[in-house]
């Protein structure tokens, strides 16, 4: 009995340690965002601000064209997700349920695309976009991501688990292939779609490298770049302002996660109706 208790305590301590390691940076970010400039520089560091400086948030949002950055971030991220869904669902359905010439080769290409880092392709893509005169638009930040290889892969696996009979029943019900895909397969894959949407949202909302390369003016820059520029706007780093900006940047991700978390758990334990 005693031994059992010891293990329970060890188990608890380990979990607490892991939780702390993950949550501490967030807590520090929030704490810093509410501190004064002096507090951010004090040694030892302040953990709890003496009086919360809500003004930091106002300052972060007024120090540049914040509304434009936010608007760009929203347009870019949502466009990417919508276009990805339009491309990904038919592709995954075809890979999962159709037999056609070159299917395996094409799927191998998708997997290769999945493994290709963006750092390999950014120069040719930049040159191409510049050639087409698109650098002053949002298109270079959207177009290269219209196909999501990871999404096609995940969704294909999910579609493959759906019994063939359901599709056959729909064919006997005189449903078109298009209807089968949108009215039967897509709703059944909701958990997988939510997972893909969340991953895609997080990676594009937080993306720093790609917009840094693909933009040369504030009109087309997203929030990540805007917040990074808070750092450069004056000689010294205003950590309290930067962190306030970061808090604003992170909030949408938390909201999306809370909305999707139930579906994401489902995506990994799917069993279907037997």
């Amino acid at each position: 009995m005693k031994k059992h208790n010891v293990w329970l305590s060890v188990d608890f301590l380990l979990k607490a340690a892991i939780l702390f390691a993950f949550i501490f940076p967030f807590l520090w970010m929030i704490s810093t965002s509410l501190q004064t400039f002096q507090e951010t520089l004090s040694v030892p560091p302040t953990l709890i601000p003496s009086s919360p400086q809500w003004i930091n948030f106002v300052e972060a949002m007024t120090s540049g064209p914040f509304a434009t950055y936010a608007k760009n971030s929203i347009i870019i991220t949502l466009s990417i997700i919508i276009i990805q869904f339009l491309v990904m669902i038919p592709a995954a359905y075809a890979f999962a349920k159709y037999e056609f010439f070159g299917k395996n080769v094409l799927f191998a290409l998708v997997l290769i695309a999945f493994m290709m880092p963006g750092q390999v392709t950014f120069i040719p893509i930049y040159l191409m976009m510049a050639d087409w005169g698109l650098i002053k638009t949002l298109i270079p930040q959207i177009l290269p991501f219209m196909s999501n290889a990871f999404g096609i892969f995940l969704l294909r696996q999910y579609f493959m688990q759906i019994p063939e009979e359901i599709i056959e029943a729909a064919r006997l019900d005189n449903a078109s292939e298009f209807k089968i895909m949108w009215k039967i397969m897509t709703p059944m894959a909701k958990p997988a779609l939510a997972t893909i949407a969340l991953f895609s949202f997080v990676s594009h909302w937080n993306d720093y490298f790609w917009p840094l390369v693909m933009t040369d003016s504030n009109e087309v820059r997203p929030l990540t770049l805007g917040i990074a520029m808070l750092k450069q706007s004056e000689g010294i780093s205003n950590w309290h302002i930067i962190m306030a900006g970061n808090v604003v940047l992170v909030i949408p991700i938390l909201i999306v996660y809370l909305l999707c978390s139930k579906q994401i758990v489902k995506a990994f334990v799917y069993s279907g109706i037997k």
Partner: protein, 347 residues
Amino acid sequence: MASIEFVNVTKEFEKKDIIKDLNLTIKDGTFTVLVGPSGCGKTTLLRMIAGIGPQSSGAVLINGDDVTAVAPGKRGVAMVFQNYAIYPTMSVRENIEFGLKNNKVKKEERNQLVESISAAVGLTDYLDRKPSTLSGGQRQRVALARAMVKEPSVFLMDEPLSNLDAKLRAQMRLDLIELHKKLGTTFVYVTHDQVEAMSMADTIVLMNNGLIQQEAAPEEIYHEPNNLFVAQFIGTPPMNIGELGVDGVKFGFRPESAQTSDTPVDEYLSMEGEIATREMLGSETLYQMKYKDSAFMLKSNYAFYKVNQKIHIGVPEDKIYLFDSEGTRIRKDHERYSSYLEVLRGY
């Protein structure tokens, strides 16, 4: 209402012939059961009628028209699948009316049809429920309602009762027989369970290895099997088979054809053996009798024989079946019928 015809139908799968040159006519309005062991090609035939697993060559005719190029949804057939294949994200109502919507049936008519069909199968209270909240029997009814609502001319059923428990299965068997009587449409039903086949069919088509072994009414297939396979597939327990010892000929008799007694029985074939096992089933008892190197199953109304007890049995001449070395039935008009039968005297 529709008749179905298979003309020289072949189905290849991975370069192997699952079905070879098959010809079969299913008459309009009949309840036809395709039965056979797994892998015999019965489901393959059903899928050909539905158009979801087209034949490699040959033609499938519905009402005399070649439907090879007709899409599954336009053939006027409805199918109930073994796993029901209900759309899990739709409510019961949406499941039932999905086909109607695709066929552009007006909303008022749709509602009316859904209401009347769901009442007929007892689903009225469940129309707004999701399939995941229903029991196996209720899901089965959703699948049935979905098929019925389209008023098809052919009903196809692929082992629809195999996922139900024994009691519900017996009930659904009766329901299906009644449904067939009421609708009068052609039913094609696939099962591996010969009891289901015997109890529901007008015509049984017994298949093995992609070939039709016999096509006949249940009584005929039971009493006049074409060959050894049919004799041993139909009936629980199946027909007893013994070696005659001449030309590889085999003889057989049904377990219930043997008269049992403590004293020698004066019948054409009489034997004395020892009871090896005893299964009391209620109204009747099954015994396994050891005789020389073989074992025969006996079905008796008497439950008083004990294991290891000596027992005499007798089988009348007209209950004995003979099969040649290929397994084909040797009928009375065969030239050597009487001489083979003679061997059994004093077996």
